[in-house]
């Protein structure tokens, strides 16, 4: 039986749509006002876009790790930010060692590859340790219990690193070849940005490929669909979970190295903010969905870079870049109003709120 439009949409839906339209309207008005001021040239905008893409690429790698673990265990791994931090932190010492012998600048590709491998190994190792010690015993507990354990693990790891290595910051050595740039049609593009964007796209394809086209990926997807059925099909669930954690951890480590190429500083609390951003990105794209996480992260990176200047300058708001995280979250709300399961997410029917 066909329902009338009044039966399909309630008053609250109307309210929500109104809020969504107000936000969207503000965004559009702000954009138009800013563009009318002609403060920024198109080259400026393209430049900001490229930086946003590079940043988004890094967030994408962390987000994909988050989303894979969520898909298989339905838990928010808060300690993922420390997994992300641990790889580049340890690899920094290796990098400094390589730089002091000059090796890093003479053989940048091999040097970088070496740093990458070490970071991925350390991050993956930390993720595996977390799984073994903190999450495996709580496999059947209600959702919020592993969340708290993850929070505890996050604090513990942060302050262990602080105790071991000190509270100051360490700097990554500069790799000369990456500092160079080239110009396309007036826009200056740095080699670092190219490496980061290319690297994250590559890793996205690798991860996606593993999940979609390999046997072990199929097993992973089976376990995330239905754990008991997968077990009945002969899949070793424990091993799959371990593999997922390892893969997610390794990708976080790789993300860490790329992140430090853009922002060459490591300290013990550096993981906190990117961790939250990555989680936001994963949700934005539809949680549990690897391409969704990538898409969400790219959008987030662009919003951070371009957003404040584009939306807020025209509205006359002072210090717009202070509000960049607020912009990201408001756009998140906007998108979730119109697509409650994320951009590429499927309708969750049985999940409890």
């Amino acid at each position: 039986m066909l329902r009338t439009w009044r039966q399909r949409y309630t008053l609250t839906d109307l309210f929500i749509w109104v809020i969504g339209l107000v936000i969207a309207g503000a965004v559009v008005w702000g954009t138009i006002s800013t563009l009318r001021l002609h403060l920024y040239t198109s080259i400026d905008w393209i430049d900001l876009t490229i930086r946003g893409l590079a940043l988004g690429g890094v967030y994408a790698l962390i987000a994909m790790g988050y989303t894979m673990v969520y898909g298989i265990l339905k838990m928010i791994n808060f300690a993922h930010s420390e997994v992300f931090m641990s790889g580049p932190f340890v690899a920094c010492f290796v990098a400094l060692g390589l730089a002091s012998t000059g090796f890093l600048n003479k053989q940048p590709v091999i040097g970088l590859a070496f740093i990458l491998i070490i970071a991925m190994a350390v991050s993956g190792g930390v993720a595996l340790l977390l799984e073994r010690i903190c999450y495996r015993p709580l496999r059947n507990a209600p959702r919020l219990v592993p969340l708290i354990t993850a929070i505890g693990a996050s604090f513990f790891l942060q302050y262990t690193f602080r105790g071991l290595f000190g509270s100051g910051s360490y700097g990554y050595p500069a790799i000369n070849i990456l500092q160079k740039s080239f110009t396309i049609r007036g826009v200056q593009v740095f080699n670092t940005q190219v490496v980061v964007i290319a690297g994250s796209v590559l890793m996205m394809f690798i991860l996606f490929g593993i999940v979609q086209w390999t046997k072990i990926g199929k097993a992973m997807r089976a376990v995330s669909e239905d754990k008991e059925a997968a077990e009945l099909m002969g899949i070793d669930v424990d091993k799959m979970i371990v593999f997922t954690f390892g893969l997610g951890g390794a990708s976080a480590g790789a993300a860490g190295v790329l992140y430090t190429l853009l922002f060459p500083v490591v300290n013990f609390y550096m993981g906190f903010t990117p961790g939250i951003k990555a989680f936001t990105a994963a949700v934005l794209g539809g949680i549990g969905n690897v391409p969704g996480a990538f898409l969400g992260a790219i959008i987030l990176g662009l919003l951070e870079s371009v957003g404040p200047n584009l939306f807020l300058t025209g509205l006359g708001i002072p210090s717009p870049s202070q509000l960049k995280d607020a912009i990201a979250f408001i756009v998140l709300v906007l998108i979730l109003i119109f697509r409650p399961s994320g951009i590429l997410g499927e309708r969750i029917s049985k999940d409890k709120a």
Binding site: T10, T12, D13, F15, I16, I19, G20, I76, F93, I133, C134, P137, L138, A141, P142, L144, V145, P146, L147, I148, T149, I151, G152, A153, S154, F155, F156, L157, Q158, Y159, T160, R162, G163, L164, F165, G166, I276, F279, T280, V283, I287, P318, S319, Q322, L323, D325, A326, F329, I330, L332, V333, L336, I337, P340, S341, I348, S349, D351, K352, A353
Partner: protein, 566 residues
Amino acid sequence: MKIESSLWKKVLQNGLLGGLISLLLGLVGMVVAFGTTYLVGGMVSMGQILLLAPFLLEAFSSIKHIPSKNPRAILAVGGLTGLLGGAVLAVYLVVGQLVPFRSILINSSPDLYTLWTFGLPFLPGVLALLALALVAGLIAAGFSMLPARIRGALSWGLLIVLILGLFRDLILTVIGLWGFVQFAFLWMFADVGMTIPGALVVFLVVGGLVYWRSDTVRKASVSKRNPRQQRIIRWVTLGVLAVIVLLLPKILGMYFSEILDDVGIYILMGLGLNIVVGFAGLLDLGYVAFYAIGAYALGVLTTSEAVGLLHLTFWAALPVALVVAVFAGVVLGLPILRLRGDYLAIVTLGFGEIIRILVLSDWFKPLLGGSEGIQRIGQPTIGTYVFANQQQLFYVIIAGIIVAGFIATRLKDSHLGRSWMALREDEDVAEAMGINKVATKLLAFGTGALFSGLGGALFATKVGSVYPQSFSFIVSINILSLIIIGGLGSIPGVFVGGLVLVGLPLLLAQFADFVYLIYGASLIFMMLSRPEGLLPEARRRLELREGESGPSPQENQKPAVTDAGR
């Protein structure tokens, strides 16, 4: 001796693990930091205990895997595990003579090496370390062979002596307030830690008490009391507790009143979040938003500075602040009505961050003070009496908690409370049963926002100023942890959770650098050992312990519910 290979593997594993843990404790700096915190008579320091305890505990763990009760096997396994642990440290020490670990691991210092080798020159020191590790393992072995009652008595006795020695400063601060009574206890404490006679007395008393109480024959007779007697005992206990709670600020002094105030505010907020997450099942990670709104609303309305509006008194501004908080709760609840699960979580997290960014921003600086914050916030007064310091504010906070606790308890068993629980279990079925999803969810949010706003207002008046740095995501996390550790959905659990999770870091403040490390480890430990929380709802405990024993014991932690006639 018949020891299987799997046992050898366990010994190896545990030994290495013990060594690694001890190494970690040393390298993060805890061993050196506590190297001069002597516990008894200037002899044993906490640092040395941190050094040797992992060996002992891992040895204990190895011994549990021995099938037989052969004393020689137990001693061998225990000693070997301990020795292996010591070997790990010894290897590190030897390598450390050649490799400059300190350029990376900043605490790998000469002071640490000296502590590890007990102040002896290198070679004898390493040997002493190995010997002591072995002895630690043997002690664990010997300990495990003692009968259970003596074991319990010894452990408790030693534990209490350790705690008293470690927290000597705090204890003396409190005892110092008790006038002449303090002299009954002062002789037990030295400049650092306890004196030998003091430790001995405490050890004997505690050990004796535990030994006496673990007498199982006695226990059986106690539970045979009839229900009427039990009820009288319960009410009397509650009454005594109430009197003690009201007198606490006076007994414990200013510092503990400060801690109690903080605990109280968090408990208040916990009661609110317990409704949102525990009753209604809406995972709210941005609870700090309403906390900030309540605090800033009160600040803006009562401050005597130029940035304020209206310059009201505390009691006049409080209802306005609460209305603003509830309004915010409803407004922020609207866009998320259609969201489920972790989408809800991330959006609420976003709200928390948005509010924090807005109060920090230069945009709202003329109204909210920006990074300079708002100072000179009004304090509550009754007539001419001003609730100025923490001891006095304690009573205002207690009043707030009583009101909130009352509301929460009544709501739990009401029609609304049951609608929330239906929503929590399955949203679609609840809707099919005729529950108005929108109204129920908004009411949950609004009530949560009310309690949080109240907490924020009390916080603002306690500190006297608000700065944006106090309203970060960590606050939301802390409250969430508190209600889960206490037991999700259980109201007494909120109190216990608050005391443990908020009181603990404040008590541990003397350990400065390591507070969060210990806090994180405690969270992990608590969740691994009691995932249902410390005082869980009976139903939850059933769910989580389903596989284990048979029918659960009588629900005896919520007297109100089991009273006849309810």
